[in-house]
Symmetry: C2
Subunit: 292 residues, 2 copies
């Protein structure tokens, strides 16, 4: 499918993309670029990339360039990459927030470059290349966020690529994506962390945790995710996250009022609505969280 793929940032996502590209015979050569030499050595040992190189050496002649570094450094890497890009190289990223990144990328890149924002919606509470899994994207939703400037052949190649990973493809406008992930992903992370901190703030936190059952564990599992990564995601998607927090607070006040007023009808109808929507979620895909 591709002759040469360059992956900048060989962590959980970049590493899993490398594994999937190799194992599914989607690329002849996969080159890893990463400032962390130890990490690159691990990636080589795990067969995640075929060789490691600098951007300058790796990029010329690449069909596909995947920006898979942490969201805070993606634009910096793209800027460093520009002098070495070959016309026709398809460029995509894997970041959880799209609007500002795509705007800046389109300003920054030459006219003949093929940039398409991407967000494979898969993750684990673990990070790093040692957690990489070939099937991480199998059954997941892979979002692309083309704009009026996006080259059709580039988005089509990427859609084929995502399908070959086993993903379902969804095209969204960048702002639409950011609003959606704020509600369905970033808000849940913020709430899970806040719930843990509410328990942690109690004088008898240790005693409380002894009573934690499956409900608390499930509700807070994502609070164990990488803190720096989530700080950057929440700040990068700041406006949409804050808006979703306001919407959540409004809903919480409704439930709270029902409890304060002993309003059995309002309370149960809120609980029923939630149950019905939750039960409407389609069957889980095969990905299983690795954390306790």
């Amino acid at each position: 499918m591709f002759n040469k793929v360059v992956i900048a940032g060989v962590g959980l996502i970049g590493g899993s993309l490398g594994l999937a590209l190799t194992r599914r015979n989607l690329a002849k050569e996969i080159v890893g670029v990463d400032p962390d030499r130890d990490n690159l050595n691990k990636a080589l040992a795990l067969g995640v990339v075929h060789r490691a190189d600098s951007l300058a050496e790796a990029l010329p002649g690449a069909d596909l360039f995947i920006l898979a570094a942490p969201i805070g450094v993606t634009l910096g890497i793209l800027e460093m990459a520009i002098p070495y890009l070959t016309p026709g190289t398809i460029i995509t990223d894997v970041g959880s927030v799209k609007g500002r990144l795509i705007e800046r990328a389109e300003q920054m890149l030459p006219q003949d470059s093929y940039f398409v924002g991407g967000h494979p919606m898969a993750g684990l509470e673990v990070t790093g290349v040692t957690g990489a899994r070939e099937d991480l994207f199998d059954g997941a939703t892979y979002v692309f966020t083309p704009t009026a400037n996006t080259e059709i052949s580039a988005i089509n190649s990427l859609k084929d690529f995502a399908h070959a990973l086993g993903s379902k493809v969804l095209e969204l406008e960048p702002a639409e994506h950011d609003r959606a992930v704020a509600l369905i992903s970033h808000l849940p992370h913020l709430l899970a962390a806040t719930l843990v901190n509410t328990v942690a703030a109690d004088d008898d936190c240790g005693g409380l945790l002894k009573l934690a059952g499956g409900g608390f564990r499930d509700a807070t599992r994502i609070a164990a995710s990488n803190s720096n990564m989530w700080r950057d995601i929440l700040l990068t998607n700041r406006e949409m996250v804050l808006q979703s927090v306001r919407e959540f607070r409004f809903q919480l006040e409704e439930m709270e009022q029902a409890i304060i007023n002993f309003n059995r009808e309002d309370l149960v109808s809120g609980l029923i609505r939630a149950r019905e929507v939750r039960e409407s979620l389609p069957e889980n895909r095969k990905y299983v969280s690795r954390i306790k």
Copy 2:
């Protein structure tokens, strides 16, 4: 261990207690009492109880009387049971809220009755006797809430019983229990339902749910629990639940302020605290949620 055990309310918890009592040879005879005849027939078919009877017929000569009906009707059943209680019968309940129930039960019961509040902290998103599992309490925490009026021999028998189910026993004061479960169980349920409702309130709820990954699923799994049961729990533990919501809101505002002010340090330290506390939770017990 017991000659005759009477279980009033043969649902998920009552049914699982019945199964565990039979399969672990903890009782010679288990009698089910339930206003729902269909449910009793299912319980008999599943071997959860040996026979079904009325309170009047079942209670005389019982060693143990377990109130396992929904929390809203527990006191009513206890009141109906009083004329048929034999002195020396140990009485316990399985309700998620203890303070008011125990106060009322102690006022209501004759001096020679042996009442001990109990709360086996195990559950599933499914309800009803068909979900009953012999191992539901294995590895779970079984809380008892004795008071100054509790007979020592009764609490000791119940502790032996809980250990025989495979549970870890914890003794708490009723108010202490209610405060703890508000934070570790009732608040998480309320937040999970509220999170789902925040997404449900969006014009594009269907589109958002397509993007739901493992994080949203985990965080909202308990929103699929029985709505009437949770309405009753939240209202019965009203003061403690409202206090825990206030504490949560305070923590949420701290996180929100960090995002508004672009305060990277405060935000990441909140996320790190949550991650560390979440990671400190001991290994999960073998109970596995049955819901997708």
